[in-house]
């Protein structure tokens, strides 16, 4: 990928992570000469994360990801929260109310687990396929700034590369922006250090013990099982394809500036969890083998601080995206959807600016406005529930602890997310309502790709395993339904377009009603989940067998004009 590079490009992207490669894909696809510069020897090998990419990133993010087959480790269908009251007495409450019901689960996933290196490499390959040049093993050491406008970058070997627009996707530290005086270094109280372990495990064991659910652990500070509720974050276990990913992360400092010995803290949490938590000790420990221990800082609480949140996301000649713009989500601790959204917006604004011949800060300020008005980004960087857990710890109120966990990672999280997700849904509906069938195909294609990547016959995930070429009745029904749905959506497009505007006030009203009536519909939801758990087993098996064995062509994305 280390092509010979020119001295000038339309767009230079700093960093080949989730955001940088997506932005490069956009600008290269729109005919702009695009160079991506990555400091790691291989793409994605300096990115560390426990990673569930929430589904809204795939639904509303870059089209090439939605319509492709990226390397996912496992579809996720829900969260199991373990709320530890007293580990020694085995007093642990479980909140597993946030999950996709059968038979939709696990195909219609809540998100996808992935390794950063594999996923970012796939994105980089896709960007290169549409014309982006990607070089790795090179540090951008400085920006070229003339009259307050960024005109290019300086490489570590002293070479300069000029660009009409620089898209800064350098990650959470944002060294270039800090050095140029555009943004400030974040204070340690908003920075979390993620201590991550990767355990190899047989797929059958992962399937049997974890299935498709991620596990979170919450407990009083004095239990020393997980990072403190007061200023830490949490402990999470992700089932991957043939491995478990385990992450504990806590802020570098308390609000009052107190700093702890984090090495000792993390060792204590890990020893206590693996030694005291029964499901780990009895079911998991002897089936796993530690194969990686890594850590990284990320900017978890930037969005909750008014001053930090207001720092600029652009300057003349430069747009700042993803973690470099402080867009990490405060609750799921995930920055990927916001990196993708901001990459798409930055790609579009850069294209417009270059077409208009105006890369001034005034022109590029539209990027800043769009990011701040993006319903999902605005919600995800300001959701307070993880931060609020400290109040439960202060008062040592068990009821409060369960309430906050339920608000952030239980059923009530839906009441908080329904407004931003629906607003973005209505936006994309306006552009082309047939995106809904693209989503259905995506779900089936992703599941099929995942299944074959980790099945005994993993040689070609795109290949049908059937030994005959006749269309089965299931394939016929699926294709028929997709075709008719597409036709109906196309015919009713004007009506849906109108509705997408008329429904907006009603959606805003939902912000209040969804939370208010949760007492009414949550018990019904929980009963429905239990009923489906018992009754929909056969249907779930039939659906997953169909997804795994059908001709992959029927799940292929339809070629459509991209906005």
């Amino acid at each position: 990928m280390n092509d010979t590079i020119q001295s000038s490009y339309d767009v230079v992207v700093v960093g080949a992570g989730f955001g940088g490669t997506a932005a490069a894909h956009y600008t290269a696809r729109h005919g702009l000469s695009t160079l991506v510069i990555e400091r790691a020897e291989n793409i994605g090998e300096k990115i560390i994360s426990g990673l569930t990419i929430p589904i809204y990133g795939f639904l509303f993010g870059p089209g090439f990801i939605r319509d492709g087959a990226p390397p996912v480790e496992r579809p996720v269908d829900g969260i199991i929260n373990y709320i530890v009251i007293d580990i020694d007495r085995g007093d642990i409450a479980i909140d597993d109310t946030l999950r996709v019901p059968k038979p939709l689960a696990p195909i219609f996933a809540f998100g996808y687990n992935a390794y950063c290196a594999d996923f970012c490499q796939w994105q980089a390959d896709e960007a290169a396929r549409v014309g982006a040049t990607i070089i790795s093993g090179m540090v951008v050491s400085d920006l070229i700034i003339e009259d307050g406008v960024v005109r290019g970058v300086v490489l570590e070997d002293g070479r300069t590369i000029t660009a009409k627009i620089v898209i800064n996707a350098e990650g959470s530290q944002g060294l270039l922006s800090v050095k140029a005086g555009i943004r400030k270094k974040y204070p340690p109280r908003v920075i979390s250090l993620a201590d991550t372990y990767d355990y190899a495990m047989d797929k059958q064991d992962v399937d049997r013990i974890f299935g498709h659910s991620i596990r979170f652990l919450w407990g009083w500070d004095e239990q020393d099982l997980a990072p403190p509720l007061g200023y830490g974050n949490g402990l999470m276990v992700w089932p991957y394809g043939k491995s478990l990913h385990f992450m504990q992360d806590q802020c570098l400092a308390k609000d009052d500036g107190t700093v702890q010995n984090l090495k000792k803290r993390f060792e204590t949490y890990h020893e206590n969890v693996t030694g005291k938590l029964l499901w780990w000790k009895d079911d998991v420990e002897d089936k796993t083998e530690l194969r990686a221990h890594t850590w990284q800082c990320f900017e978890i609480f930037v969005g909750l601080d008014d001053e930090l949140r207001e720092m600029p996301l652009f300057t003349g000649g430069m747009l700042i995206i993803g973690d470099a713009a402080g867009l990490e989500s405060t609750e799921l601790c995930d920055g990927v959807p916001s990196a993708w959204f901001s990459a798409d917006i930055a790609g579009r604004v850069a294209t417009e600016a270059i077409e208009a011949g105006d890369v001034s800060g005034e022109f590029l300020s539209r990027y800043d406005r769009e990011i701040r008005n993006h319903p999902i980004i605005a919600w995800s960087i300001t959701a307070p529930h993880r931060y609020l857990l400290r109040h439960a710890q202060e008062s040592h109120d068990e009821k409060l602890l369960k309430k906050y966990v339920h608000n952030g990672w239980g059923f009530e999280a839906l009441a908080h997310t329904v407004v931003p997700l629906t607003l973005v849904f209505l936006r994309v509906l306006r552009q082309d309502p047939r995106i809904m069938t693209s989503w259905v195909r995506m779900y089936f294609r992703y599941y099929r790709h995942w299944h074959h990547t980790f099945s005994a016959d993993s040689s070609n995930p795109g290949k049908s395993l059937r030994d005959h070429e006749d269309q089965t009745i299931g394939e016929y029904i699926f294709s028929f339904l997709m075709w008719w749905t597409d036709l109906l959506l196309f015919v009713f497009w004007p009506f849906l377009w109108l509705m997408s505007y008329l429904l907006v006030p009603l959606v805003h009203l939902t912000k209040w009603t969804a939370g208010f009536f949760v007492w009414l519909y949550e018990p019904l939801w929980v009963r429905l989940l239990k009923w489906l758990d018992a009754k929909a087993v056969g249907l779930t098996d039939a659906l997953t067998r169909f997804a795994a064995n059908a001709n992959p062509d029927i799940f292929s994305a339809k070629k459509r004009r991209e906005p």
Binding site: S136, S141, L262, F266, T294, C297
Partner: protein
């Protein structure tokens, strides 16, 4: 290329140089950089922090964030060098 028994799954490539440095004029010897570094890169001698070794540094930049005196100068190691992992 280096690997460590303490930190499996990671390889350190090439020579990265002194990409983290402590300004001894600014340093007050508070030791916060030691507290947050999981790789043991720092030591405090005569009330001044200094980089002991960057051999197992994961480039997390916790030392840079935590220093109240802005005495830690953090930059990226030379391109293609430093830590790499497939399991992040």
């Amino acid at each position: 290329m280096r690997t460590s028994d303490s930190f499996p799954g990671v390889r350190w490539v090439g020579e990265s140089g002194a990409f983290i440095q402590v300004d001894t004029e600014k340093c007050t010897g508070c030791g916060r950089c030691l507290m947050v570094c999981l790789a043991g890169c720092f030591e405090v001698i005569e009330k001044k922090a200094r980089v002991r070794s960057l051999e197992w540094c994961m480039e997390c930049s916790a030392c840079w964030y935590i220093c109240p005196e802005n005495a830690v100068d953090f930059s990226w190691p030379r391109g293609g060098t430093g830590f790499h992992t497939r399991f992040g």
